[in-house]
């Protein structure tokens, strides 16, 4: 199993997720560092992410949008605060308007990613901290819409298989 554990702290509004991969820290680092790899997993297949700007260095900015099945777009940004290859990455993340400009009044979340070598595997720990109520709700709204679209897509695919059989 890939996800080893997750710890939620409702009082402090944090989520800690621990996952292990059959890969070296350098390989896992690559999927964060290379925007073309990042685009393959940040959004679900039905809402793929496109990173238009990606400055992978402390103080650097990244901006992206996700495109929905009907062409609708949802934008976001990162402000990278720490890069220690291949073990640690920290960034603030928030929402962007239709022009890609940060929506500052919603506030930002903060993510700390750590990669540790455990034998021939890599343990990835994601610590997410939320800053404001609106920010967290929007984050979930955006993510859940994608999740449900994805699930719906999978059901469609299954039904199509059955009708062919």
């Amino acid at each position: 199993m890939t996800v080893i554990s997750s710890t939620k702290n409702p009082e402090a509004l944090t989520l800690t997720l621990v996952a292990e991969f059959d890969a070296s820290p350098e390989q896992v680092w690559q999927i964060w560092e290379d925007p073309r790899q990042l685009e393959r997993w940040w959004g679900p297949p039905t809402w793929p992410a496109t990173f238009e700007q990606f400055e992978f260095e402390p103080g650097g900015k990244a901006s992206y949008y996700m495109t929905g099945p009907d062409g609708e777009k949802a934008g976001g940004w990162w402000r990278i605060t720490s890069v220690q290859a291949p073990n640690r990455l920290e960034f603030d993340d928030g929402f962007a308007d239709e022009n890609g400009a940060p929506v500052e009044d919603i506030g930002a979340g903060h993510a700390t990613v750590t990669l540790e070598e455990i034998g021939d595997r890599t343990r990835m720990t994601i610590l997410s901290t939320f800053e404001s109520e609106e920010q967290m709700k929007k984050m979930i709204d955006m993510g859940m819409e994608e999740g449900m679209q994805e699930a719906a897509g999978q059901i469609d695919a299954l039904l199509a298989e059955h009708s062919r059989a």
């Binding site: 890939t2 996800v3 997750s6 939620k8 702290n9 409702p10 009082e11 402090a12 509004l13 989520l15 997720l17 996952a19 991969f21 059959d22 890969a23 390989q27 896992v28 999927i31 790899q37 393959r40 997993w41 940040w42 679900p44 990835m124 994601i126 997410s128 404001s132 109520e133 609106e134 967290m136 709700k137 984050m139 979930i140 709204d141 993510g143 859940m144 994608e146 999740g147 994805e150």
Partner: protein, 110 residues
């Protein structure tokens, strides 16, 4: 989804209530045992009135309940309120679990 079951006002109250370290500490304490407002006030370097104010914010956010017992006001954790915050985190966790699965798939290609 759970977000739709909460009004904007309820959510604002919930998150504003949890945005303060003293209030989070109060929630943690009263979730495991009951405290009187004066018992809580003795724990922090602030006035009784200030602690009472914090409790009132938590009460409006449905995170704690307050009940009169003689001269004391007893504060207890409200399980349902905390459960809502927990459900929001559950939903966010689901997003990350899906991402982790996609990362594993990409790494497996190599």
């Amino acid at each position: 989804m759970v977000v739709d079951q909460l009004s904007e006002t309820e959510l604002d109250r919930l998150f504003q209530a949890l945005a303060d370290a003293t209030r989070r500490d109060i929630v943690r304490r009263v979730t495991v045992g009951e405290y009187s407002v004066s018992g809580l006030a003795a724990l922090y370097a602030m006035s009784f009135a200030a602690v009472q104010k914090h409790v009132a914010v938590l009460e409006r956010a449905s995170l704690v309940t307050k009940e009169k017992r003689g001269r004391e006001q007893i504060v207890r954790g409200n399980h349902d309120g905390l459960q809502k915050a927990r459900q929001l985190l559950d939903e966010y966790e689901a997003i990350w679990r899906q991402r982790v699965e996609r990362i594993a798939d990409i790494l497996a290609e190599k």
